[in-house]
Amino acid sequence: MTIRLEIEVTGAKILLELPFGITITETQVNMWLVMLGITALCIWLTRGLKVKPTSKRQIVAEFLVKTAENFVSGNMGKKWLWFAPYIAALFSLALFSSLISLLGMYPPTSDLNTTLGWAIMTFVLITFYKIKTNGPLGYAKSLTEPVFIMTPMNILGEIATPMSMAFRMFGNVASGTVVSALVYAALAAANSALFGWLPGILGEMGEKLPILQLGLPAVLSLYFDVFSGVLQAFIFCMLTMLYIASAAETE
């Protein structure tokens, strides 16, 4: 007897096709939903702010802002305080884009285009601040150090930074989905193998009922969706801050 595992690992579903080859997939729609949710949350939290706070909502709102500002100024220095909204947006978007998979929706962060886009944004900022700090010539010169032959390696190194960031996040979230699907399929196969032996109608019913699939996927989801989601969002923000701050540092 052979047990067949039917697993389909695909990317986001294409929902809409527009001219010029633009497609709208689950990634975009879910990200917009996340953005809508974050916007609604912000509006709700900052409704009726008072100098003397009377609501818990205001305390939460102030806590979020202060945490973001402390996070940024602690890692980048006081003069980067204006950068806090960017980090807050990056963190909240990455976090909720990963956590949305808890609702059974497609997480936008398991689409490489999403994480690559954010990593390119970080790369642009890093390069901008390197050029701003050292001047265009200084930046070009830094690529040829310590010897001229190293230039291709240096350029590769520059590009490797955003690439590793993009693939780290994408890999973590997407692999979580893949591992979850694999485990789920394996459990389904084991389930049908275990209960399929039962005679008659009992066996048919046992084969259909997802008994073994009850516990383990939930634990895996807790790790891959919640823990990994928070961790990867944190790491992405951390790396963005540290790279940009060190790029702007005058030597």
Binding site: T2, R4, L5, E6, I7, E8, V9, T10, G11, A12, G21, I22, T23, T25, T27, Q28, M31, W32, M35, I38, T39, C42, I43, L45, T46, L49, K50, V51, K52, Q58, A61, E62, L64, V65, A68, A84, P85, Y86, A88, A89, L90, S92, L93, P108, D111, L112, N113, T114, T115, L116, G117, W118, I120, M121, A174
Partner: protein, 169 residues
């Protein structure tokens, strides 16, 4: 056997989707700035200003109270010295007055004593004169009886007076 379908789609790269991811991130930055950071920072700034105002108000009130206290102390000192001066002048005046009264009383007593002395002297003289007169009369009548003849007081006045003078001593 494991079949994997749609692997290409699983790891596809689409420039539009990359641009949309960047755009979404930037839009969310603006949203967070407008709906979370700006309002909260505004409130925090207002609170800071209010706290600063409260502190400066308290400082001002404290310095005002201090100044007022100094003023009261000064006034209290003034009142005290004024009262002291008043008491001093009053007691001085009382002393002077009493001295005046005493000296007045002394003078009065002296005057009365002198008057009394004069009265006594006068009365003495008067009495002596009266006595002299009566004695001279008596002596004259006695002598008339002795000599049985009239003695003209006018003639013997000096003689009699001499005798009385000798008596009076």
């Amino acid at each position: 056997m494991i079949t994997m379908a749609g692997t290409l789609d699983f790891l596809s790269i689409n420039v539009w989707h990359i641009l949309m991811a960047i755009g979404n991130l930037l839009i969310l930055v603006l949203i967070l700035k407008k709906f979370l950071f700006k309002p909260v920072q505004k409130i925090l700034r207002q609170r800071e200003e209010e706290i600063g105002k409260t502190y400066s108000d308290a400082d001002k009130a404290l310095s005002d109270a201090e100044a007022e206290k100094q003023l009261y102390l000064q006034k209290l000192d003034e009142a005290k010295s004024e009262a002291d001066a008043m008491i001093k002048t009053a007691s001085e005046r009382a002393k002077a007055e009493s001295a005046e009264i005493i000296s007045g009383a002394k003078k009065e007593a002296e005057r009365r004593r002198r008057n009394a002395d004069e009265d006594i002297e006068l009365a003495k003289k008067k009495a002596a004169e009266e006595m002299r007169d009566s004695i001279s009369d008596m002596v004259i009548s006695l002598a008339e009886q002795v000599v049985e003849k009239e003695i003209d007081p006018k003639v013997h006045e000096s003689l009699i007076d001499d005798a009385i003078e000798g008596l009076g001593e």
